[in-house]
Subunit: 313 residues, 2 copies
């Protein structure tokens, strides 16, 4: 059994069982891949793929089990290299952060600024996606950290650490009637057309919950995955926006007015997700601590070993 064979196997699965694509992705020849997979199947005494004549159509059940273990081994192989890097030069390496628009645009910039000043030699990558996507990336080792509010998928592989809580605000154009109202209520809000986050993004479920618990049916005319889009449509008078407080900046958003809505919706918790099987280099601990100062190295290590669902601090 060779690590190469496992690499081939993993790539074939990633390429929807297409040997040729896998060969291309790995910069090698198809026959080589074919051969090594056969050897692996022979050694394990199991058919990994179901072949229809010469076409690979499916993974067998044992193949699935093998694939999972193989992927973990490959990740460990990466981890070994990381250990090497870590002790060679603690200042260089790479960090891939998978996150949503809201975090990337409003929460992360100051942290990232500090981080690249502290670690100028580290190649930092931001990868933007939906909560589901970023969970997948971290679980598969394509990214090191997931940062998002809301339903980060609960992979057993992932440890979720609560970072901070935040509340919402309502944004409206200047001279909007809601600005006159003494204390904002859900009922008055429900009288207007609403623009807010797409489901599955940025704590949207808390918004739904709040309305539902009062028996209200909000008239959501547009859902977006980011606050900038929401603000744009509020500005042109399409409706009132509900968004994260941190996404409103009185200076930059001069054409809009914000109303605090902390009392209307449950606060949401932004979490950071790490893979349990990933070797965590010191600068990764540092990054997490910059983002959430209560998460120091020791705390994180504890959480990795005892992965009970982490509650908000």
């Amino acid at each position: 059994m060779k690590l190469q064979q496992l690499r081939y196997l993993s790539e074939i699965a990633r390429q929807q069982l297409n040997l040729s694509k896998a060969a291309e992705a790995l910069h090698t020849s198809q026959p080589g891949i074919s051969r090594q997979i056969q050897l692996l199947e022979q050694e394990l005494g199991v058919e990994i793929f179901i072949r229809n004549g010469k076409r690979i159509t499916k993974i067998t059940p044992p193949g699935q089990a093998i694939l999972e273990i193989a992927r973990r081994m490959l990740q460990d192989a990466d981890n070994l290299r990381r250990v090497g890097e870590e002790f060679n030069d603690k200042e260089s390496g790479s960090l891939v952060i998978a996150t949503t628009h809201t975090q990337a645009r409003y929460a992360l910039p100051p942290i990232i600024k500090r981080f690249i000043e502290r670690y100028p030699k580290i190649r930092l990558t931001l990868r933007q996606g939906s909560p589901t996507e970023i969970s997948t990336w971290v679980a598969s080792g394509e990214a090191d950290l997931a940062i998002a509010t809301e339903a980060i998928e609960l992979f057993d592989e992932l440890i979720m650490l609560p970072c901070y809580q935040w509340n919402r605000c309502i944004v409206v154009p200047p001279q909007h009637p809601l600005l006159e109202q003494e204390k904002l209520t859900l009922e008055s809000l429900a009288q207007y057309t609403i623009i807010t986050y797409d489901f599955a993004f940025t704590g949207r479920s808390k918004i739904n919950q709040a309305f539902e618990s009062r028996g209200l049916q909000p008239n959501v005319v547009l859902t977006a995955i980011d606050a900038d889009v929401i603000k744009t449509y509020v500005e042109i008078g399409l409706g009132v926006g509900i968004l994260a407080q941190m996404a409103f900046d009185p200076v930059r958003d001069k054409g809009l007015r914000a109303i605090d809505a902390a009392h209307l919706f449950e606060p949401s918790t932004t979490r950071i997700g790490i893979s349990r099987s990933c070797y965590i280099r010191s600068y990764i601990y540092d990054f997490i601590e910059m983002f959430a100062p209560h998460l120091n190295t020791e705390t994180i290590k504890q959480a990795l070993v005892h992965p009970q669902r982490q509650e908000p601090a």
Copy 2:
């Protein structure tokens, strides 16, 4: 990076950093090992061993980290082979049970009888040791299951599943004064010399606790790791024995009398320990269920994924 190199590394560590011994254990040549380790160090860019001239004296900190990951990879390699076996022939394979004397002698025999009737082709091995030893074996993959009462060491690697609870009894020679007593108390018991389990074995700590909570200091004249030794010395009049109820058989132990002591000591829980990173073949699930019927395959899988400390049923 080759799996061979990791195998070499792991074996060197196991052989107290003796290359030659490692080579012998792996049926290969010393120079080969030496070379491959150098290549590995070169590839990772890290010194794994500290050398005093040409003698290997210690593992470096990065070496330690590398060793741990390497061991997990090797276990995964074993797991791959197991998956192969599992789907090839679910009836054959091997099962190594690490356990203590008490379990091996009194609790396991009927289970094992059933198991080998059901799976005649499986090579079953019983490996006897102290709770510490058996934990180590399972954590390192040398054994598949640990079965013991009492302080099985709490490796994070190990999941402990409660199987059953049991109580103690007192054994004395016939016509012993304690047999006349209406209801046995710790105070009366403390007046006699006592023979019981060695510390760290078979729930011994519960016995100490009971006496201590009453401020009594039992006069323990002999500690043994198994009930047979205890009974032998009770028989020759050295003292009264405290042992597990299951270890007393009125028929076989004709020369002794037992007195129930369930009210004197906290019941102990016998647990079964499995390694979180071990691929569990179907017959292993079956074995566990034979031993503790409430632990079915689903329950065990749950516990492996959510490894909160399992409480007695």
